[in-house]
Amino acid sequence: MPKIEVNEQLFYSLVGRRWNSRDEFEEVLTCAKAELDEDSDKSLPESERVLKIELNDTNRPDLWSTAGVARQLRIHSGGKRPKYPFFTRPEAPGSTGGPVSGSVGGSAAKVPAKDSPFRVVVDPQLREIRPYIAAFVVSGKAIDDAQLKDVIQTQEKLCWNFGRKRRSIAMGVYRTSLIRWPVRYTAADPDGTKFIPLGMDTPLSLREINQQHPKGQEYGYIVADFPKYPYITDDNGETLSYPPVINSARIGAVQMGDTELFVEMTGTDMETLTLAVSMVACDFADAGYQVVPVTVEYPYDTPFGRSITFPYYFQKPTFCSLQRVEKFLGQALTGAECVAALERMGCGAEEAVDSETGTAEKVPGVRVYPPEYRNDFLHAADVVEDVMIGRTLASFSPLKPRYFTIGRLTPITLFSRKVKELMVGLSYQEMIYNYLGSRRDFVDRMRRDGFTAVRISNPISENYEYLRDSILASLLMSESISANAVFPHRIFEVGKVAYRDETENYGVKTRQNLGFLHASPDANFNTLSSQLQALFYYLSRGYEVRELEDPRFISGRCAEILFQGKGIGVFGELHPQVLEKWGVTVPCSACEVDLEALL
């Protein structure tokens, strides 16, 4: 869950109000599913104070910026929904003339594509490499330190979390004053193309940047296998950047005081990219900048056509019935109440009679128009949650459930309890162990070959590489570190093991076993035999024994436990080599039984 650092002064100026106490503020943050991770240091001057906020909703990337959280809080607390007149909308007939920028219905202000002074032209070769680019220009005000920090943070959070580590979104910001239009998004020769990247002072080729520049080492792999790499220049051939890796040191180095900025994003999914651009544009607009659209000309088809002017509103409305709202919230709400709640969440909404996706019947409900910076309504259920938060969760009182069901434990749990009780009666101490361990512990030290154990292909360390297939190793681990505990040691565990089994769909079987170990100068086969007899007697299960050769046990001092003719367990005196490998110098006898087989 992303954590962001928010300049306190900037934040509160965007929200437009403050709250009286930290508690109150934290409660208000819940409408954004946010938590105050760390309050600001009050000893610093106001302009330097920073709040740390943690965001919990991975479907709301618009909240991962200072302006985004501020906007949510502002509107939810009664502020007006903002107008964003710089958006373009689809021209196709029948497209919803739905609300954009704080008004319901009607058509929104459009900047005709041909009037936009800023254009980007795309190279056809990029279709197979990194096909999409979206962009806009920001002007009207000099960028200050707080805003610059915020832009960089947004870039990071968005591209890392939402953009899957720059794979589906990478963002660049540039100084427009140095750009000759149109900007060209091309596919360039990795070796022949050179420029001075940000952070260095000599020109490197794109491939060299991958090898030598830290950002190249981090992100170069995304495009490294292609014959050509993405590359952005202006009309003069001056380098803007090599996406998704690094800006140029000249045009790509935004500084405090710059008044006109060009923001672009490249990526592999058009909707994700377009939404990301919309979010960042709205953030700038909230901060008082003017957003000027940019038209991108594609030589191939995209989901939104071949000539698109960004920021672009592509979101579709979602219809949710009042029936659903009542059914899922447990409270009957009128259409007007729902609309009001949705508006407090920044959405446009209107009462309507329509049918939900996948149903035919037309019913009363609300039609929701996502705000420009959101696209998280996949199902009418998403509308219900926004209504809930819009009205605040506290407005819903808990209702005691009325209907009756019978509770019960699984047969294996009940049987295991009987077994545990008897083991305690046999003076054994119950233990509870981790199921992950090392090869050394589960295989090598047990004189086994490890073929039946389940191995993890991406363990965090070799200490947690295997899933245990027997409880005996865990018991021996206890024994090996408990030489100072008063003897005798009698320990047991009822727990799960897993082992490979070809006959299973998963190729692995999970079982609940009993494992117990007796360590003492007089821990021998006979003592264990007696304990086993007592255990099975009181479990009312008959059993037989048969000699068994098992490398973990001393030959001739090991037996298999048979239940209804099948082998379901083993017991005996542990082999001195096993004890030696564990560093145990007290004789041990042990037993393991598959409890599920006894059910």
């Binding site: 919990n56 996706t357 938060i389 509770g407 101490q429 509870i432």
Partner: protein
């Protein structure tokens, strides 16, 4: 210690000493054991105890000397001393040089030398000009080779006597005070304190302590007499005493009830395991039915069936462990596979527009170690009863470095509620019940939450008397993309409680790793913390 307490704490051995002797008596271990018929060692013990209590005092220490027969001494007794053997040899042979004698007798040259010296002083042997040794003309030997009369005879026979007596004595030890003057002189020549390998006797010094009853003992003796305590009270009550009536009229020794009892090693359940079973019982009492499943699962049930898109960053958040072999399940059950795939791609018939990507039917079969308890809820949906309530306490695995707040594998407590009356408000009602009944909380609050598979989602926070507010768990109404795809038409609430944190509080621990401690002594001594609840 006051008299009465002292009297109660006296051992019968001590009692008998105090009652038998007076202040003028001199007590040693030997005397006490002999007079009172104590077993060996009891005299020492009783006097030590009395000394510690100040009832006897040490009058003096006497050092007594003893002589212990060494291995060499034993050989001398059996084979003869060097002097005796030299005489016997010369009795048979004419004359020999000292080295020849040494060789013949198997004795060191220096020992032969000193034997010759001693015998020659007694006039029993002589050496000629050619350094040959022979019996003196005047020497008269008996049949056994020993001299018949004279100083030499006397001296040799004293030594012989010492050897014989020692060999026959208990412990092969002779007391110095039991020797006469002649014996003492002879002994001085053949006994050594150290280097006993080359002496016939080893000198031992033993200290005997002589005790006397102290002035404090007088009052104690009187109190014992007044109380009628003789030291003959019954210790262990045996079957014999019972059946023969020996207890009638007899007194019983009292136990000192303040002595700390010795520790017992008992069989016992593990407090953490017990805690989990108690939680299960509470949930059963709320009408929930238990479920569990395989530790190894597929991406399908663990995540895809919960409508988490295969590309979503939420999937990275709790990275999973992958199984090395086999890597995939053989198949995923239909119709669930197709229905879930459709839900992801375009919403299927769940009423959603879906995630709009191509669902990877190979990736979905990948085998992993289950990372969340919600996998069990997903698995239950196709066969769940309506109305129905289910729960499980499941061992789950996540890719996380192990430390005080993270484990390699841990428990999650999860469950679902299905029914027509399931909605946000009844969900809040359930959460309140969990908070009160399972966690024992008095104050509860709700916060909007986020989970990829529920909408709406709610977190429940409770107030702990010491730690303040913290998140007890999360919940929500399953998204229709989850329930409808798996064949369920009614609303389903899903909930999860952070059980390990509750366990830490209940057991008074701070570090999650201690819940799974391998240390036997640690586990033996751990008890539930009653105050924490």
């Amino acid at each position: 210690m006051d008299i009465q307490t002292m009297v109660k704490n006296l051992h019968p051995l001590e009692v008998r000493i105090i009652r038998r002797y007076g202040r003028s008596d001199e007590l040693t271990i030997e005397k006490v054991e002999a007079d009172l018929g104590f077993k060996s060692g009891n005299g020492n013990q009783a006097l030590s105890w009395l000394a510690a209590k100040g009832l006897v005092t040490e009058l003096r220490r006497e050092t007594r000397v003893f002589y212990e027969l060494t291995d060499l001494g034993h050989r001398w007794k059996t084979e003869g001393t060097p002097e005796e053997r030299l005489l016997r040899l010369l009795n048979k042979k004419e004359a020999l040089r000292l080295p020849e004698i040494a060789e013949a007798l198997g004795i060191e040259n220096k020992d032969v030398g000193s034997a010759f010296g001693a015998l020659s002083k007694f006039g029993l042997v002589v050496m000629d000009g050619a350094k040959r040794v022979a019996l003196a003309a005047a020497a008269e030997l008996m049949e056994n080779g020993l001299p018949a009369r004279g100083e030499g005879a006397q001296k040799l026979s004293v030594v012989r006597g010492l050897l014989e007596k020692a060999a026959a004595a208990e412990g092969a030890v002779l007391a110095d005070e039991a020797l006469d003057e002649a014996e003492k002189v002879a002994m001085a020549g053949i006994a050594k304190k150290r280097g006993a390998a080359d002496a016939a006797f080893r000198i031992l010094e033993r200290e005997t302590v002589v005790y006397g009853l102290s002035s404090e003992s007088v009052a104690v003796a009187q109190a014992l007499e007044a109380a009628g305590i003789t030291g003959d009270e019954i210790g262990t009550l045996t079957s014999e005493i019972l059946s023969q009536g020996g207890w009638k009229g007899a007194q019983f020794r009292a136990y000192n009830v303040h002595v700390p009892p010795s520790r017992l090693l008992i069989g016992r359940s593990n407090p953490y395991a017990k805690f989990l079973e108690d939680v299960k019982d509470k949930l059963v009492s709320l009408g929930f039915e238990e479920f569990d499943g395989s530790l190894v699962e597929t991406e399908f049930w663990n995540s895809d069936a919960l409508f988490m898109p295969q590309f979503h960053s939420a999937r990275d958040i709790h990275d999973v462990y992958y199984v090395a072999e086999p890597t995939k399940a053989r198949s995923i059950e239909e119709p669930w596979l197709s229905r879930v795939a459709a839900a992801h791609e375009n919403g299927g018939d769940t009423g959603s527009r879906g995630w709009n990507y191509t669902f990877d039917r190979e990736f979905t079969k990948r085998l992993i170690l289950r990372s969340q308890g919600t996998v069990l809820s997903a698995r239950q949906l196709p066969t769940a009863k309506v109305p129905g309530k289910y729960f499980g306490i499941a061992r789950c695995f996540r890719y996380d470095r192990v430390d005080a707040t993270h484990l390699s594998d841990f428990y999650q407590t999860e469950g679902i509620v299905l029914g027509e009356e399931v909605n946000l408000r009844t969900l809040l009602g359930f959460l309140e019940m969990f908070a009160r009944e399972v966690a024992g909380a008095k104050e509860v609050k709700y916060v909007p939450g986020y989970f990829p598979f529920t909408e709406p989602s709610v977190e429940v926070h409770i107030k702990h008397p010491v730690l303040g507010w913290f998140e007890l768990g999360g919940s929500g109404i399953f998204r229709p993309e989850v329930t409808k795809a798996l064949g369920v038409d009614v609303p389903v609430a899903a909930w999860g409680i952070g059980i390990d944190r509750m366990a830490l509080m209940a057991l008074g621990l701070n570090d999650l790793r201690e819940l799974f401690s391998y240390d036997i002594e640690n586990v033996r001594l751990r008890r539930a913390n009653e105050a924490a609840r």
